[in-house]
């Protein structure tokens, strides 16, 4: 099953490589990885979406991650009530004929058109993985020229923890 792991790491050069390399050499798979700064300038947060066959495998992954000197804290957000978001940019073929239809789809998904040219638009969508997948599926028939996704980030709702 898929797990979302939130890692707090010391903001050192190479820390992403250490995390990613650990996965490949222990034979585990990463679905997505997203990294960014946190409220503490010395600490970064890495959000990993990983596949683990069972609890034992997840436990072993977590313990191996903890062995990295730069990993401070790991939270498995899968079971928590967490807000999960992903952002995608999609470049879609859009002539005058189908542009209105595209705008309508974007509107329904509360996506934004962030660039328009003669024959294409760029749509920005934010949401859960399901939502992103859904809009991609709908837009594909129009001619999806290029897509980029950030990978998932997640945060536990404060009511749960407090």
């Amino acid at each position: 099953m898929k797990h979302i792991l939130a890692l707090l790491v010391v903001d050192q050069p190479g820390v992403m490589v250490r995390v990613a390399a650990l996965y490949s050499r222990r034979g585990y798979n990463i679905d997505s990885i997203a990294v960014g700064k946190t409220e503490d300038p010395h600490v970064s947060r890495i959000t990993l979406v990983v596949e683990a066959e069972n609890e034992a495998e997840l436990e072993q992954i977590t313990k191996q991650l903890y062995k990295l000197v730069d990993v401070i804290k790991i939270n498995d957000l899968t079971k928590d009530d967490a807000v999960e978001r992903e952002l995608a940019l999609m470049k879609v073929s859009a002539g005058s004929a189908n542009r209105a239809q595209l705008l309508q789809i974007a509107d329904i998904f509360r996506a934004k058109i962030v660039d328009v040219s003669q024959d294409a638009v760029i749509i920005e969508v934010t949401g859960s993985e399901d939502k992103v997948e859904a809009i991609i599926a709908l837009i594909k028939p129009f001619g999806l020229k290029e897509i980029v996704r950030t990978g998932k980030i997640a945060m536990v709702r404060s009511a749960v923890r407090s």
Binding site: V10, A21, E59, Q60, K63, V69, V71, I72
Partner: protein, 557 residues
């Protein structure tokens, strides 16, 4: 205090109590070698960087203090790789220093540039590329702390040349801040109580001691626990010096080439107490039939070892010495008369045996004679293969940190340079490398090192003209197709003599003891080339992926 990076490095090493560096010079470390020269820092020049890292390893294993090695950038650094992987697998504290091209040249495929921090990431506990001389003291402090605490391991520091020559205002930090690194030493009290309760009800308890006992210095606590609760003890290859080899409760090594009694005891026991051991595949054989009747207590300082290979009933994370002491304080004396009777019967029915031969020296006899002549007091280093297994089976260790062998990685060419490090760290002790004719040639250039420093290391080659362990597998499992294992060896005695080292060859069984005595009594370095039975096998043996109680070559008495 204003110092260059190179001077700051040596000053920091001194503050960490480092007395010797094993190394090899090259372009990017000339400034460091200049500081070594000017300050007279003790340095052992090996003849290959691999020799240097193994020597640092042998020094660390035999003394318990971190070993330090130094190599130049590029090929110098990559020559450390096997040694670092060896040390990482066996949890040996090493601080490896490598030169690097100047920071302005990094990433340009400069001459002798190699991304050594990238290369060694999976085989070091941690590593650093120093970008600015001002970070150097902190990094060295952290490196020694990380290498020596928790589960020890090698740490590499990559030093670009401009860092070595730049000046800094030197101060050595008193404290360090590593928010992601907090080794646990004290065991959880609830878990310790659970282990005590399990021990109190166990009828057939068994201790399975690993290298962690030695690293923790818990030999005394282990002995007291075994005696107080009457628990027989088996040890891994890495744990052989954790318990006196001559003690009546000692069953010998377990696993693929373990003692029959040890493997039978694992299969029969109802409680297995693993102390600082990691259930390696060479120990467990087929995992599903390993200790099938036992509840398992696992003491380890590395949480990731718990449940990695086998299911564990009572895990206790922490340092062996602390946890064993806590167990001892809570445990009352126990008797296991019936169990000991059973175990002792296996022991006396299935001792380690071999058939003596009238024409050939038997390799086991060489180890037995070394044991007799050194009274179990020597530091024994080994290479890897049959020589290693015979040394493990037939030497009886009586002192801690006296068996220096590459267990996890199984590195041929390890034993001889490791013996150099062990001798440097223990000048008063007898240090012997039990070698094979294959392995010794993997770092034979170090003969020059023992000759030039007159290190009295003794090399005993069990020369059967084969890569013996591979030949044995080919005999057992590949219908004797001896593919590429016959070695056309040089005359090792002549090779040693060319380096100015006392050397003999012995072929007749009746001359073995006299020649071994001559070599061991020689005050300087010496080599004995023992021409042994070419096709003797290491027995007993658990076939690969077999169950450990089903061994080949089980002798009956």
């Amino acid at each position: 205090m204003n110092l260059t990076g190179a001077q700051a490095l040596l000053e920091s090493l001194r503050r960490e109590g480092v007395e010797v560096i094993f190394g090899y010079p090259g372009g990017q470390v000339i400034p460091i070698y200049d500081a070594i020269y000017r300050e007279g820092f003790k340095h052992i020049l090996t003849r290959h960087e691999q020799g240097a890292v193994h020597a640092a390893d042998g020094y660390a294993r035999s003394t318990g203090r971190p070993g330090v090695c130094l190599a130049t950038s590029g090929p110098g650094a990559t020559n450390l790789v096997t040694g670092l992987a060896t040390a990482y697998m066996d949890s040996v504290p090493i601080v490896a220093l490598t030169g690097q091209v100047p920071t302005s040249m990094l990433g340009r495929d400069s001459f002798q540039e190699a991304d050594i921090t990238g290369i060694t990431m999976p085989i070091t506990k941690h590593n650093y590329l120093v970008k600015n001389v001002s970070e150097l003291p902190r990094i060295i402090k952290e490196a020694f702390y990380i290498a020596t605490t928790g589960r020890p391991g090698p740490v590499l520091i990559d030093l670009p040349k401009d860092v070595s020559v730049s000046a800094c205002v030197y101060s050595y930090p008193e404290t360090l801040s590593l928010p992601g690194y907090k080794p646990v030493y004290e065991g959880n009290v609830k878990q310790i109580k659970a282990a005590v309760a399990a021990l109190e009800t166990a009828k057939k308890p068994l201790i399975y001691a690993g290298g962690g006992v030695t690293i923790s210095g818990a030999e005394e606590e282990l002995l007291r626990l075994a005696e107080k609760a009457e628990i027989p003890v088996t040890a891994t290859l890495m744990g052989l010096t954790a318990f006196p080899g001559t003690h009546p409760l000692f069953l010998g090594m377990l696993g693929m080439h373990g003692a029959v009694a040890a493997n039978y005891a694992v299969t029969s026991c109802d409680l297995l107490i693993a102390v600082g051991a990691r259930f390696d595949d060479r120990v467990t054989g087929q995992v599903s039939t390993f200790a099938p009747n036992a509840r398992i207590v696992h003491l380890d300082i590395d949480p990731a070892e718990i449940g990695k290979n086998v299911r564990v009933d009572i895990p206790i994370v922490g340092d062996a010495k602390h946890i064993l002491a806590a167990l001892l304080s809570l445990l009352s004396a126990e008797k296991h008369e019936q169990w000991l009777k059973e175990v002792n019967k296996w022991k006396s029915n299935h001792p380690l045996v071999y058939q003596p031969h009238t024409d050939y020296i038997m390799p086991q006899a060489v180890v037995e004679t070394i044991l007799e002549l050194t009274d179990g007091e020597a530091i024994i280093c080994t290479e890897v293969g049959q020589n290693q297994m015979w040394a493990a089976q037939f030497y009886r260790f009586t002192r801690p940190r006296s068996f220096i062998t590459s267990g996890g990685l199984g590195t041929m060419g390890f034993g001889f340079p490791a013996a150099i490090g062990a001798q440097v760290g223990n000048p008063e002790r007898v240090v012997i490398d039990i070698a094979g004719d294959g392995s010794i040639q993997m770092n034979i250039q170090e003969l020059a090192t023992i000759a030039s420093y007159q290190l009295p290391v003794k090399i005993i080659i069990l020369n059967n003209g084969y890569l013996g362990m591979v030949r044995q597998w080919q005999e057992f499992f590949f219908e004797k197709r001896y593919s590429e294992v016959a070695l056309n060896n040089p005359d090792f005695a002549k090779v040693a003599e060319a380096y100015g080292i006392k050397a003999y060859t012995v072929k007749k069984p009746e001359e073995l003891k006299r020649m071994l005595t001559a070599v061991l009594n020689h005050p300087g370095p010496a080599l004995l080339n023992c021409l042994v039975h070419p096709e003797e096998n290491v027995l007993p043996m658990v076939p690969p992926n077999g169950s450990i109680h089903q061994m080949l070559g089980v002798g009956e008495v």
